[in-house]
Symmetry: C2
Subunit: 229 residues, 2 copies
Amino acid sequence: MKEVLPQLNSTFSIDCVLFGFDEGELKVLLIERNEEPFKDWWALPGYLVNENESLDQSAARILHELTGIENVYMEQFYTFGDIGRHPQGRIISVAYYAMLRLGGDKALKPISNYAKQAHWINVKELPPLAFDHQKIFDQGLEKIKRRIKHQPIAFELLPEKFTLTQLQNVYEVILGKKLDKRNFRKKMLSFNVLKDLNEKQKGVSFRAATLYRFDKRKYGKLFGKEISF
Amino acid sequence: MKEVLPQLNSTFSIDCVLFGFDEGELKVLLIERNEEPFKDWWALPGYLVNENESLDQSAARILHELTGIENVYMEQFYTFGDIGRHPQGRIISVAYYAMLRLGGDKALKPISNYAKQAHWINVKELPPLAFDHQKIFDQGLEKIKRRIKHQPIAFELLPEKFTLTQLQNVYEVILGKKLDKRNFRKKMLSFNVLKDLNEKQKGVSFRAATLYRFDKRKYGKLFGKEISF
DNA sequence: TTACTTAGTGTAATATCTACACGGTATATT
DNA sequence: AATATACCGTGTAGATATTACACTAAGTAA
């Protein structure tokens, strides 16, 4: 049985593509929708923009309402505006992305009941997505690929303290190819944005690796320079 | 005397940042507005999107209506959505850019009378612009800077046949710095996307330079590879 | 004590980047 | 015809960056 959906005015929405990294896998944050259209489908966290908020503000609010996540710096990357992309009318969507540390601290508790639940899903095992969200996701993934190639920001996905092997792992998963260990280390350390903590991993079987931390001050100096992987 | 402006619904518009190159100067296409708000101000060609067209289609239509220019491939680069950016209500604007061959052939004849006239203006001598168009222009300029650094597309701004010196000139003007002649040629030719026409400039005082043409077939092979200036 | 697993390290060959200067050639001028 | 002018077109050496490649060290588990 078909439900009749209300017609929405010409308007615009935000969709967020949040990437996380866990257990060697790249994950994306999805919600399960609780409303028509696409009720019970998985989708990127997204909703309509209010009249009285900027796009950036709106993105932060929507992410919070649908997933409980706050204080994430997201960046706009593309606006999707094909006709027919939304069954209820002419709605264009401004897409944002961010890379994010996973961990128990960021609770996934939707506040609005527009979302039933929110989950981190392995990007290799995506369910069918609502609207044109597969396309939005694909472009978001392309975006972070380009970005980690040119800026040493992969540690945004890692815990504060991380090993070089973990960092290399992030690169390999996102770029989809193996990198040479010695060359990777040489290059990464040459950027001079990592601080050696003189500290070792704990609670790991076999030899523990040195922990590093991202050094914001040094990063400032690098910023804008061309680098590439 | 203040006019009362109609309130527009929440909706969206397109603004186009078109770059051209003429007489050694980088130019941008502006219109003189014929309607409130900002009547008689200079502005980027831009207007509201219709319900029945995609953003890309809309950009092409709007450019044509306001400037007479057709068949230009434009690419979206950012969406501007601060509150208060438009005095008549909540209007976000999707910005497009393109690089374009100038020349007598592309007539600048606005079709809609929303624009009084359209002109190519030296980017170094911009008049005050309507709305937040200065900001949109600035970001458009940043965009083409990044783009010509990574893709050998500067000849989009030049006539079909061009000399290496002209091409270098485009790079120098856009990047805002001098480049070494020998190194520039070495690098540009190494990309293997230029075809030597075995033909010389005509009608020029002093020694004539060799003409080159962009070779689309070869470009296909390069595409996607990382290059940089 | 041994087996296992991951950490951590150097070098040589190649490719790319940078800095740098002058003779060649068509045109204009006298 | 000779000369001045202004732009064209080219090479190299030194420095830097990239690539390919394999073993020993250290800690844990049995």
